[in-house]
């Protein structure tokens, strides 16, 4: 689960990291009021789950509250990489003297947390990594011991941070690591961690923030679950999560219902394998769970049917411990609860597959066809979509 910049910065502040005292506005007048309250120059920033906000025109500097209102009215409703902007953050302007990058993330290959710093802050870190990877200092943290002071020294000296900023930097790095652990995050990123002049002092401040939370850790952080912003998610994905189904919306026409994530991916691949030449492909990834329970099948069917692009449905179930005849009965029951005229191709394999297929065939549902192999099922689904066009 991704947090918005303003949510991430509020969380950082809870861990002692200095952040600007901006506020979120949902309309242009609120942006005006916030800018007026802050006084001076402000920055109006789109709050949207997409990168490259600046390049897309989603971040603007405002000299006056009127400017802030003007910018907010343009940014709100803007589409950034397919995401509509519903709110803006109005932050006070800062007198920036330098920009650092600082992040904690999971290093999957090393199986450890990784803390990274770079003197090349404010830029796209992936670009820095591509052009000059040596400019990123990386330190692995032992998850049993946690981040140690000497490791922060390695980072600070590695990026040539002036000595007078080390104390602040240590507090921020430790705060960021604690935030990562205390939030079950998979990423906590400050970019830029800016060197700013404020009231005659030089301080480090997190001007931008990004956080991703491990969905499997959310149970331990109910306060973070309330930060979930579903306004940018497809309705189908929200419904699927509520039904405890694993679903990802795609842009094809074949609704796929499969038990098991690996098999679900393989099924998607097969529909594209046959359909690509006709512009046909999978409408979704959907794992109904290994057991293909009838209630889950019905819920899955509802979600697939709510996607108006879907022209055919492919059900691919491997009956392992679950028997295919039980699954077949579940599918028939689900069909009576969620009727549809769309062509449905059912492939059942594994325990009692013959009995399962017989149940599907004898149900006399004219729109439903059986298939013996995944190969055949995918071909039939593609043909069905072509016929429907």
């Amino acid at each position: 689960m991704n947090l918005h910049e303003y949510q991430a910065k509020l969380r950082f502040a809870e861990f002692g990291i200095p952040v600007p005292r901006g506020k979120v506005a949902f309309n242009a007048n609120e942006a005006y009021e916030i800018a007026k309250e802050l006084g001076g120059v402000t920055v109006v920033k789109a709050q949207v789950h997409a990168g490259g906000r600046g390049k897309a025109g989603g971040v603007k500097v405002a000299k006056t509250p009127e400017d802030a209102r003007e910018h907010a009215s343009k940014i709100l409703g803007m589409n950034i990489k397919g995401h509509t902007v519903n709110k803006v953050l109005v932050d006070p302007g800062a007198n920036i003297k330098g920009e650092i990058y600082l992040a904690v993330t999971n290093d999957r290959a090393a199986r450890k947390p990784l803390i990274m710093a770079s003197a090349e802050g404010g830029m796209d870190i992936e670009e820095v990594n591509r052009v000059s990877p040596e400019k990123i200092v990386r330190v692995h943290v032992d998850p049993l011991i946690g981040l140690r002071g000497y490791q922060i020294t390695e980072l600070a000296s590695g990026i040539n941070l002036p000595h007078d900023l080390w104390k602040q930097f240590e507090k921020i790095a430790m705060g960021l690591y604690n935030c990562y652990v205390g939030s079950d995050a998979t990423l906590c990123e400050i970019n830029p961690l800016a060197v700013v002049e404020e009231y005659g002092q030089t301080i480090l401040k997190a001007l931008d923030g990004k956080m991703t939370i491990d969905g499997n850790g959310l149970g331990r952080h109910p306060e973070l679950e309330t930060l979930r912003d579903t306004s940018e998610e497809p309705q189908e994905e929200i419904t699927a999560r509520e039904s405890d189904l694993s679903y990802v919306k795609l842009d094809g026409q074949i609704g796929c219902m499969v038990n098991g994530a690996g098999l679900a991916m393989a099924t998607m691949d097969m529909t594209a394998h046959f359909g690509e030449q006709y512009g046909i492909g999978p409408a979704n990834f959907l794992d109904v769970g290994g057991g293909a329970d009838p209630d889950q099948v019905a819920a899955a069917l509802r979600i697939i049917l709510s996607d108006k692009n879907v022209k055919a449905i492919l059900i691919n179930i491997f009956g392992g411990i679950t028997r295919c005849d039980d699954v077949a009965r579940g599918i028939i029951t689900a069909m009576s609860e969620v009727p549809t005229q769309l062509p449905i191709i059912v492939r059942l394999i594994g325990t009692n597959q013959e009995e399962g297929l017989a149940i599907i065939n004898s149900a006399n549902l004219t729109n439903m066809t059986g298939a013996k192999t995944l190969y055949e099922a995918a071909q039939k689904a593609v043909e069905a979509v072509r016929g429907a066009k």
Binding site: N106, R108, A109, R111, K112, P113, E126, D142, P143, L144, V181, D184, T186, D214, G215, N216, G217, G219, R220, S246, V248, L250, V258, N259, G260, A261, G262, L263, A264, M265, A266, M268, D269, M270, A272, H273, G281, P282, F285, D287, G290, F318, G320, I321, I349, G350, T351, T373, L374, Y375
Partner: protein, 286 residues
């Protein structure tokens, strides 16, 4: 011969009193696995399916001589259950539980690295040595003894491949599900090494998916150390970037972990890569 488990494996079931644990314990006993007992704190002294229940893994190990444990406890207690088995020095720990927070698994890994135990999973279907022992949730009848070793990140996709092999009369030494989590106990590389050393395994099937670099590392290992032919299948060729496809580990990050990258790498070291799962037996027979 086989790898990891055989008819001498003595299994203890952690979470045997729960719905899943009890159901699968029954299935394993029916398959012929030597289940010697179960563990559930607070239920020590009871009996389930004719097997003694112990309060701790340590007590179960002392009383039964168990050398393998399987974990069917909910995600919030799963890391604890693994650590308990490590502490009891169980040689092979198989964790079926899914949705364990990744930071828990990082800690578990750090402890495992300095222990006497091997972990398989989490979020895996377990493993099966046809005709000898089944530890996990794989349907037993789909497999049959033979010369092919199977290693996979997926559950039902493995069943699909194993079943297809069995239907064509090609048996298996051991079928191993390493699981779909980003941080797990046993990698492709570990299992490939075991298959390479197992005299009864002649060929190997590797079933991977998008996300991470495990398949790429496997390719390097195959290139340098394997004499036995490997056939592979990689799921998720049409997966969009930045979306988790069911398995927590099945996620393309930036341009790292795409199916295309993995397929290309495997092909470059001479691995035959199937275009779809049903093609695997054809490539094995070639």
């Amino acid at each position: 011969m086989a790898i990891l488990i055989d008819k001498n494996t003595k299994l203890v079931v952690q979470g045997i009193t729960g719905k899943q644990g009890r159901f699968h314990a029954q299935q394993m006993i029916e398959y012929g696995t030597n289940v010697v007992g179960g563990v559930r704190a607070g239920k020590g002294g009871e009996w389930v399916l004719g097997k003694p229940v112990f309060d701790t893994v340590k007590a179960a190990r002392e009383a039964t001589g168990a050398n393998c444990s399987i974990i069917y406890v909910p995600a919030e207690g799963a890391a604890d259950a693994i650590l308990e088995a490590v502490d009891a020095e169980v040689e092979l720990i198989v964790c079926i539980t899914e949705r364990i927070p990744i930071q828990d698994m990082m800690k578990v890994r750090a402890i495992l690295d300095h222990s006497k135990s091997r972990l398989l999973g989490a979020n895996c279907p377990g493993l099966l040595t046809p005709g000898q022992s089944k530890v996990g949730i794989m349907p037993g009848y789909i497999a049959t003894p033979g010369p092919v070793g199977v290693v996979s990140k997926s559950g039902t996709l493995t069943y699909e491949a194993v079943y297809a092999l069995t239907q064509r009369g090609i048996g298996q030494t051991t079928c191993v599900g390493i699981g779909g989590d980003p941080i797990n106990g046993t990698s492709f590389l570990d299992v490939l090494q075991m298959f390479e050393e197992d005299p009864n395994t002649e060929k190997v099937v590797l079933i991977g998916e998008i996300g991470g670099t495990d398949e790429q590392k496997a390719a390097d290992f195959i290139d340098k150390h394997m004499t036995k032919p490997v056939v592979a299948f990689i799921a998720g060729q049409r997966a969009p970037e930045g979306k988790t496809m069911g398995h927590a580990g099945a996620l393309v990050e930036g341009n790292v972990g795409t199916a295309a990258e993995k397929i290309e790498k495997l092909k470059s070291v001479g691995v035959k890569v199937a275009a779809y799962p049903e093609q695997i037996p054809d490539l094995i027979m070639q």
